[in-house]
């Protein structure tokens, strides 16, 4: 084989990267990770979210999320001022009928807001990793379950693809994977958090609007945050035990 020095210099780094990837192989176990020591959730700080879509893109790349389906997405709410006719009649209640958009899940950001009246804000959404989750309750074979560390997961080798869980989720967080034909959803980047990393969406968020929280860790800043802020979960009337905590959540959000 005739290989010039010049070519070798080009090929070696590429080969090194390839070798590295081969060495990586299947993800290693996390020997130091103890499920019983964690209880995962997430904090979403609405005033900090700028709707850039970084989290949606990061999630899609990290988890190979198919186009048109979302493990996380961003909604932009526009709560208008009280609409009145000229004779002074109130025509609608903006708390009940906010304008919401989420073009392609907010993956590429949002169009410029043109309306000067009312209030605009972004609401990132994803699986609430409920502790009394209605989706795991209905699964006919138990293919979806709550892990001992509080993460709602799906076993894709076991799921029948009946979509009952999709119907049972009040937040629209599940979908049927178009190629795998099984239920798919946010795993809270379980492959990362069990290795001491944070989730892809939190990692990619430029403003720190999303923060992974471990409710069993006494040193987690979430405990202080919950004491000092007005924190809410989505659809509390559903009593799902949601662990996605929203700071400064507007009453119009559903």
């Amino acid at each position: 084989m005739n290989l010039s020095r010049r070519r070798l210099m080009i090929l070696l780094p590429a080969a090194a990267v390839a070798w590295k990837s081969v060495l990586a192989g299947t993800p290693e176990e996390s020997p130091n990770y103890k499920m019983s020591e964690h209880w995962w959730g997430m904090l979403i700080d609405i005033p900090k979210c700028i709707g850039c879509g970084n989290c949606v893109r990061a999630c899609q790349v990290e988890n190979d999320v198919p186009d048109g389906h979302f493990r996380t997405w961003i909604e932009r709410y526009h709560r208008s001022d009280w609409p009145m006719t000229e004779s002074g009649e109130v025509t609608a209640n903006p708390l009940i009928v906010p304008e919401v958009i989420s073009p392609d899940g907010g993956k590429e950001g949002f169009p410029v807001a043109t309306d000067t009246e009312g209030k605009y804000f972004f609401v990132p959404k994803m699986c609430n990793h409920c502790s009394d989750s209605p989706c795991t309750q209905v699964c006919p074979v138990g293919a979806t379950f709550i892990s001992p560390d509080g993460v709602v997961l799906v076993d894709p080798t076991y799921c029948l693809g009946c979509a009952y869980c999709v119907q049972a989720c009040p937040y629209g967080c599940r979908y049927i994977h178009p190629e795998k034909n099984v239920a798919d959803k946010c795993t809270l980047c379980y492959h990362r958090i069990t290795k001491g990393l944070t989730t892809a969406c939190c990692e990619a968020c430029p403003t720190g609007a999303r923060q992974l929280v471990d409710l069993k860790n006494p040193n987690d800043p979430i405990h202080e945050f919950l004491k000092t802020h007005s924190v809410q979960v989505l659809k509390p009337q559903m009593a799902t035990g949601a662990k996605l905590f929203y700071n400064d959540l507007d009453g119009s959000v559903r």
Partner: protein, 392 residues
Amino acid sequence: MSGVEGYMYPNEITLYWSVLIVLYPYITGLVAGAFILASLERVFRVEAVKPTYRLALLTALAFLLVAPLPLVLHLGHPFRSPEMYFTPHSTSAMAMFGYVYMWYLMAVLVFEIWLDYRREIVLFSRSSTGLLRLIYKVMTLGSTNISERSLAIDERVGWIVTLIGIPSAFLLHGYVGFIFGSIKANPWWSSPLMPVVFIFSAMVSGVAGVMLLYMALTRLRKEKIDMHCVDTIAMYMFYIFIIDFSLEMLDLIHRIYEADESFRSLDFMVHTQLYFSQIVLQIGLGTILPLILLFLTQVVKLPEIARKRIYVVSGCLALIGIFAMRWNVVIGGQLFSKSFLGYTTYKMSLVTREGLLVAIFLTLLPLAFLWALVKLLPPWPDKSEPEGVAAD
């Protein structure tokens, strides 16, 4: 986004429960209804409906054999469906389907039909030839004793099986209603009335179905329709229909009066996307019109031919109306966003696994099964059978 009005959560735009899931409660409903009709004669001693007793049982069996097909076909992984039997999830309403289904199929329906036909099966196994003889021989399950004492025991056991069968039929279909009624995330479904409404609408559809089949088959056989029997069936259908309609209206009025957070959204849906299937088909043509027609037969003395026509028309309308009801529950429940801010559309495909052609095929398949069952186990008294044969 095409087909979307207002705001849907992005994962809600696709509907995952298709027309096949509409067929599933429709077909199981026909099973439960047909069985209840059969039990009228057997347990409640309504002798007038006796000519339809066996036909009702065979109809129930033909439809029950098809009932799981739409479910299995709709699964993302149909071959994993046995997992529902082997590793059922104790908190899942759906996990119980396999057991309820098997119980109803084997312990109730097949057993009852076998007991009821045992004498004929034994006789056929002696008189027929070739492959048919073998089939009947297998169907006797080795039990060839048709002495009077033995048949009396059959009769007694059959009565008990029917007695168990009535709550089982309620269980089978009430449970289907529970699958929908227990989903708190979906206000269109979530209602404790759902199983009850499902049971009564099932009874209406099953009774109407058997009545129509009886009339059609009797006509095909060039026999005379037993009007006393059909009158009685129509009367029962009328009364069950009233209960069914009252329950459905109770649900509707309750929703309108309570007007909870979902009301504005659901109300809009009923007046737009579901207007035809809900208001026109289900309530107008499928319920009120047949109720008026059946009411007429109850209060006015009509000639036989008029009654027959009314029964056929109202039976067909009831079947359409109850199909529309299943459609409105299953498809309607997925058309609105759980954010209550928008609506999607259901685009039925034609030739895919969950498409229209498959749905039509699955609707007709029970009729093919019924044809085979009627050939194998004739549900009417055989006039050619010499009386003496039974005694040997």
